[in-house]
Subunit: 371 residues, 2 copies
Amino acid sequence: MKLVFSQHDLQESVNIVLKAVPSKTTMPILECILIDASFNEIRFTTNDMELGIETVVTGEVVEKGKIALDAKIFSDIVRKLPNSQVTIETNDRDVATITCEKAKFDIPGKPGDDFAHLPAFDRKDFITISQFSLKEIIRQTIFSIAVNENNKLMTGELFEVRNNILKVVSLDGHRIAIRNLELKDSCPDKKVVVPGKTLNEISKILSGEMDDPVNIYFADNYLLFEFGQTVVLSRLIDGEYFRIDQMLSSDYETKIVINRQEFMSCIDRATLLVRESDKMPVIINISENNMELSIDSAIGSMDENMDIEQTGRDIIIGFNPKFLLDALRVIDDENVSIYFVNAKAPCFIRDDNGHYVYLILPVNINVNAGR
Amino acid sequence: MKLVFSQHDLQESVNIVLKAVPSKTTMPILECILIDASFNEIRFTTNDMELGIETVVTGEVVEKGKIALDAKIFSDIVRKLPNSQVTIETNDRDVATITCEKAKFDIPGKPGDDFAHLPAFDRKDFITISQFSLKEIIRQTIFSIAVNENNKLMTGELFEVRNNILKVVSLDGHRIAIRNLELKDSCPDKKVVVPGKTLNEISKILSGEMDDPVNIYFADNYLLFEFGQTVVLSRLIDGEYFRIDQMLSSDYETKIVINRQEFMSCIDRATLLVRESDKMPVIINISENNMELSIDSAIGSMDENMDIEQTGRDIIIGFNPKFLLDALRVIDDENVSIYFVNAKAPCFIRDDNGHYVYLILPVNINVNAGR
């Protein structure tokens, strides 16, 4: 095999496929990038068995062939090469010689046939959204998946298509994040759970451009994302996702409208007095168009007042400050509306257009002691 | 005590004194910043017993007094406050109340009298250089102090004033870094060893401006750096520093002139094939105005050729690539001159004006096996 690339194209493609190289594996072949130029096209493939990425690389096939090269070493070399022409040539002992200007590397590879190819995929039902929207919707929900694997479904995100709306949901038992996105084209109703880990990786290789589309294909065990010269295949999580509709209510006793940035800064200051392990709640006291936010910990105490627009009853309620911050951080609106029922029921942060709902469970506080 | 600051001034001063707060200590009072407004001036002091910092803070003394506040909590609070007016007020139980706009913090403090003040200091012999020069000279030498404490003197840097030249030297047994700086004013000859750790911290609070001067005062057990509104006191390391003059020779068998940036990129690429633990040398083969740099490790092999200007004999010599990179990285010249004697003697990287000398010991290689 003999291939010629520009260093720039090579590096770009390597960076894309690197995202599906497992950091730990018992199968050394998975630590490799498959370079396949069996035909007149060069393809790089990686596969960690959860996530698979294949991308077509711009380059010249001087002599056909394929080889699997250790992803870490190969990517390190490519990154450090001068921005010039790079040649990769293999011999019959599967040693790859990489040359660029006056530099020459010899690194041992593995036969390309040893590599676990991506499963064949039937491209039928799909939706098209912009890379920007997909990247955003992941960012706006991914923080509330569960970290530990006790409940596998909680480590993934629901991707549901119904009535030409894509609904993405994540939850961890303490909170729920919901984002809705209207689709331009019609697609049959679908409901799958995608691993959070793979969504994180996909998010990193999306361009984030409004004008770049991504096609998302639905199959029984896989979801396939196709954009630019790249396809990304994600395994799905089996099982029935949680029924969240019954947890969402539009009744409320108190509604407030608050400046998002000010609210975040205020919570930020309060959390200075909380050690990570403490799980100390911030206490919110809403009364007469004023919110008093206070905290009282072993380190010290803090309180701060903010002007708000209040509708309905006064309320005193406690929250894990991190959960409030996580949700507020991914909302773009200048002011947010927050709905409360009582001190033991979840609050809802939601907009009027139904684009987002963030549900957060309160922390039990002794209202009398809570100043 | 009652003091009023702008958040900006307060944060700037806190950031300066933070550098002398120990991360671990058995004396909790040292984890504090002393706020001393016993007179009409506000001073912040910190002291980790090796390094002491005192800075005068811009602010208004409404009521005199002093208090010691936990440095971490206090600095966290200051950093998160809005850029507005900040008031610090203490009560008779040494609780400090920090208010800024609508936010109010109460944190427990300690009596200011508990704090270990900086030792009195006699300001006599001193030199003046620019903050830029001091910051640079530290950066250009600090990397070759020894990391482990087996030989205490190696963990410091020699600051020697002789014939109105400041010479700064660091060495770790494998290499020596020397920088010389001409002084404008005269000062008696001096010779002290300053802990590398304190130099690192000082370097972080220097402005790096050509026009900002720093006075360095010499005393028996201390070195005092005075700049702007700040004084920094560093304890010295006792003992006689190594006699390096006898290690420096101007004889050589081979001299090369090489493009610094190209040489660095080339070494950088070679080190891709070296695992941290391996200590694999790069082999340099100089012959006919060409340098071949090669490495052969368990990961793979690499070689690269570079054009050089050669004077004298051909030579094959091995080096720890990190030592070469460390020295080349802090030289500003486009081309550097490197002098060799033989494959077992140190090489010297030095300029013609005597501003710098970097001595590096080679690694023993079997020349026949070394391709």
